[in-house]
């Protein structure tokens, strides 16, 4: 790694670490300023991760997607990008508090990798293809979407289990809920402010559940496209679009699990808690696909074996 790249990764690390702490302050101590600064920190992290990739591209001379460190930085970049977009559009209340520490863990993991997995190395013949940037970036973007879907599912589950206890305590002898306004005998929904996540525990739960669903809906076709472009590349390079390699098999398993999630949610009306757990299972499969297969039987994709 060159010094400037190292500096950018350090900026990324500290920015996301500070954001993690500030999102916590925002929620626990109800400090709005902390949330604002945390969002700036996430934006700074996005810029630093993009800068780090550009620097590597320039000095290594190839798209920085060929080893574990490079793919992790792209994964972090994708997660921060999706976070910033979702945050600007929907202003989710609890996403930052869960997503920022997860992203920080990834940066920490990337930072402690041994040099052989971190440094730029010349590309082997099979990787010298324009398909490298298309296939790997799509796979990493889908993982980023699933990472944030896991974050929203985790936020849902925390709010569901912790909030349920608090709600039980609050309703014991608490004031009765105000009745909603009515028109022609029909209760009205309270109007929402534009661009704001709904208030109240139930509203937040429904919002997080829907956001998890949307993130998976976004990641699912991208994962499919990643698998497909991998198949097209493999056919172009070796004449085989599918060879049941452990990496591609686990990518298919992940796709099947998320397909199961979408069917369960759409047709069997699995919402809330059950859907959140299914999303978490899907993310475990993502982790195995990304890192775990390096320890399974031999694979064309083994590039990040730590031990």
């Amino acid at each position: 790694m060159i010094q400037f790249e190292q500096t950018l990764v350090t900026v990324l690390l500290w920015a996301v670490l500070a954001s993690s702490a500030l999102f916590l302050v925002e929620q626990v101590m109800s400090q709005v300023w902390a949330g604002t600064v945390a969002r700036v920190g996430m934006g700074l992290g996005l810029v630093a991760s993009a800068g780090s990739m550009v620097v590597r591209y320039v000095y290594a001379g190839y798209p920085p997607l060929s080893n574990l460190f490079e793919s992790l930085i792209f994964l972090i970049f994708g997660a921060l990008l999706i976070f910033v977009v979702v945050d600007l559009m929907l202003k989710p209340k609890y996403l930052g508090m869960v997503a920022a520490p997860l992203v920080f863990l990834l940066i920490g993991f990337a930072s402690v990798l041994p040099a052989r997995l971190k440094d730029a190395h010349p590309l082997m013949p099979a990787l010298q293809s324009y398909w490298l940037k298309i296939h790997v970036s799509l796979m990493m973007l889908s993982y980023s979407a699933f990472l944030l879907a896991f974050a929203t599912a985790a936020a849902y589950l925390v709010l569901y289990y912790v909030g349920a206890r608090k709600a039980r305590l609050a309703t014991d002898g608490g004031p009765a809920l105000a009745s909603a306004p009515q028109v022609a005998g029909i209760s009205l929904t309270m109007p929402a402010s534009s661009g704001e996540a709904p208030a109240g525990r139930e509203g937040q739960l429904a919002f997080l559940d829907d956001l998890t669903f949307r993130l998976i809906l976004a990641g699912f076709p991208v994962l499919g496209l990643g698998i497909v472009t991998g198949g097209v590349w493999a056919n172009h390079a070796w004449g085989t679009y599918w060879s049941w390699d452990p990496k591609e098999t686990w990518a298919l398993i992940t796709w099947l699990i998320y397909a199961g999630y979408l069917h369960a949610r759409g047709l069997r009306a699995w919402r809330g808690q059950k859907a959140a757990w299914l999303s978490a299972i899907g993310f475990i499969s993502v982790i195995v696909t990304y890192l775990g297969v390096n320890y399974l039987s031999s694979s064309l994709h083994t590039y990040g074996k730590l031990l």
Binding site: P122, A184, D209, D210, G239, W244, H263
Partner: protein
């Protein structure tokens, strides 16, 4: 009081309906997807293609018996896995016909007008304080809705209907993919061949003798051959190969009819056969014996317990020598075959070196490499790619939501309600902005006047 017998369906009809209902259920579909996922996991844990793999794993006897019964070293070609795929195909087919198509027909219809009371069942319900329905319609149109005025003074609007095509399109893509994969299995040929520079191979040998896989309906090929004109490598450094190249010629009736330089990621096709640069290896030694250049073939093996490549005995002067090369980076070792037949090392030399053996000048020019080519014919590829594309289109369509909105007149304005096949918060925000646009005062107070 006499009971009127209800008309009974014949038992076979009832049974077949129950069977169809079962095979079209989402639960069965999800179960099959999870079963395929679980089977695939097994195939990534147990090394595939090696029948002795189970012997190398530390397994208890019952586990070993179960894995053997499951043909765990050959999961993806095992009968039970193919049955799972077949059942998945059946579930896709039946659910598409029985569930997806009827639902799609309903979804593509214009949503019917609903009475005021029915709006109570919609997840989003807002009051619009305006006497002008046209303002509501205009605000909805500005947000991409198709708006239809109802007979009772209200309206019906919707957007994103085409997103409901998602399930159908995805299922059709999976059909195309599975059928194309079946077609591939029946017609594809896959071979691995090795050629030394200057060597040729007739196509019938490429797709016949050297075929690793050949479908029962694979086409016959004959009348031409492939020749390797040149093979070479580029290196980043002496130990790291950057790229390797083959110059190929297609020879038909003694004439070169096509030529192409191939490398990894740059294949070549002729007459439906694709050639891929796949691997390379040590194939021989370039020597000069007594001033006469010649190439001697190398064979892998361990005839003397040494790992590497050997030649057959070569005559140099009056002696017989076996030449041994441990690897391309190691020096050549010359072993003289003694009277009893056992070889004894007598000299070693690097590429470009010359020495005199038994009065005969001997020069080692260097190792000669063979080019490893993968040859393939697969008429199922266009179908596979089409299936890929259709699946991606279908899954991408699912990202967009279908929203349906109704408005009915009430005192002082309209009751605006709606539903979405996603969460209702996005729809609530959208309809709140419609209310805000039509009647800002009402939104400010949050209550109807």
């Amino acid at each position: 009081m006499a009971t009127i017998p209800t008309p009974m369906q014949p038992v076979p009809a009832r049974a077949s309906r129950a069977l169809l209902r079962f095979w079209s259920s989402t639960g069965v579909g999800i179960g099959l997807m999870l079963a395929i996922a679980a089977a695939s996991i097994l195939g990534t844990i147990v090394p595939q293609g090696d029948p002795t793999a189970l012997d190398h794993l530390q397994l208890s006897e019952p586990v070993r018996s179960v894995l053997s019964a499951l043909d765990a070293t050959n999961v993806y070609a095992s009968g039970w896995f193919l049955v799972l795929l077949g059942l998945f195909f059946l579930n896709l087919l039946v659910s598409t016909v029985r569930v997806v198509l009827p639902r799609l027909q309903v979804a593509l219809r214009l949503p019917p007008e609903v009475p005021l009371a029915a709006q109570a069942n919609h997840p989003v319900r807002l009051f619009v304080q305006t006497p002008e329905l046209a303002r509501v319609a205009s605000a909805l149109r500005a947000r991409g809705y198709r708006v239809f005025e109802g007979k009772g003074g209200g309206l019906v609007a919707h957007k994103g209907r085409w997103s409901r095509l998602s399930a159908l399109v995805t299922h059709v893509g999976l059909f195309i993919l599975l059928l194309s994969a079946l077609f591939t299995g029946l017609t594809a040929i896959k071979s691995r061949i090795s050629l030394m520079p200057g060597e040729s191979m007739p196509v019938q040998q490429v797709v016949g003798d050297f075929a690793q896989r050949r479908g029962p309906l694979a086409p016959d090929k004959r009348g031409w051959g492939v020749r390797l004109d040149k093979f070479w490598m580029e290196h980043y450094d002496p130990d790291t190969v950057k790229q390797f190249y083959s110059d190929l010629s297609i020879v038909r009736d003694g004439r070169v009819v096509a030529q192409k330089r191939i490398w990894v990621n740059e294949p070549f096709t002729y007459d439906g056969i694709w050639f891929y640069q796949s691997f390379w290896g040590l194939g021989g030694l370039d020597l000069s014996i007594g001033g006469k250049p010649q190439r001697v073939e190398l064979r892998d093996g361990k005839p003397m317990g040494l790992k590497g490549s050997f030649t057959r005995p070569v005559t140099i002067g009056k002696g017989q020598y076996i030449l041994y090369l441990g690897s391309e980076r190691m020096p050549l070792i010359l072993m003289k075959v003694l009277a009893g037949g056992s070889p004894q090392p007598v000299a070693q030399m690097g590429p470009g070196q010359t020495m005199t053996l038994e009065g005969t000048p001997f020069r080692y020019e260097g190792p000669a490499y063979y080019s490893g080519l993968q040859a393939k014919s697969d008429a199922g590829i266009p179908g596979i790619y089409t299936g890929f594309g259709v699946i991606i289109l279908g899954t991408a369509l699912a990202f967009f939501s279908l929203r349906q909105v109704w408005a009915n007149p009430v005192e002082g304005g309209f009751l605006l309600s709606g539903r979405s096949n996603r969460g209702s918060d996005g729809l609530l925000r959208e309809l709140s902005s419609v209310v805000s646009q039509c009647a800002p005062v009402a939104v400010k107070e949050g209550l109807p006047s």
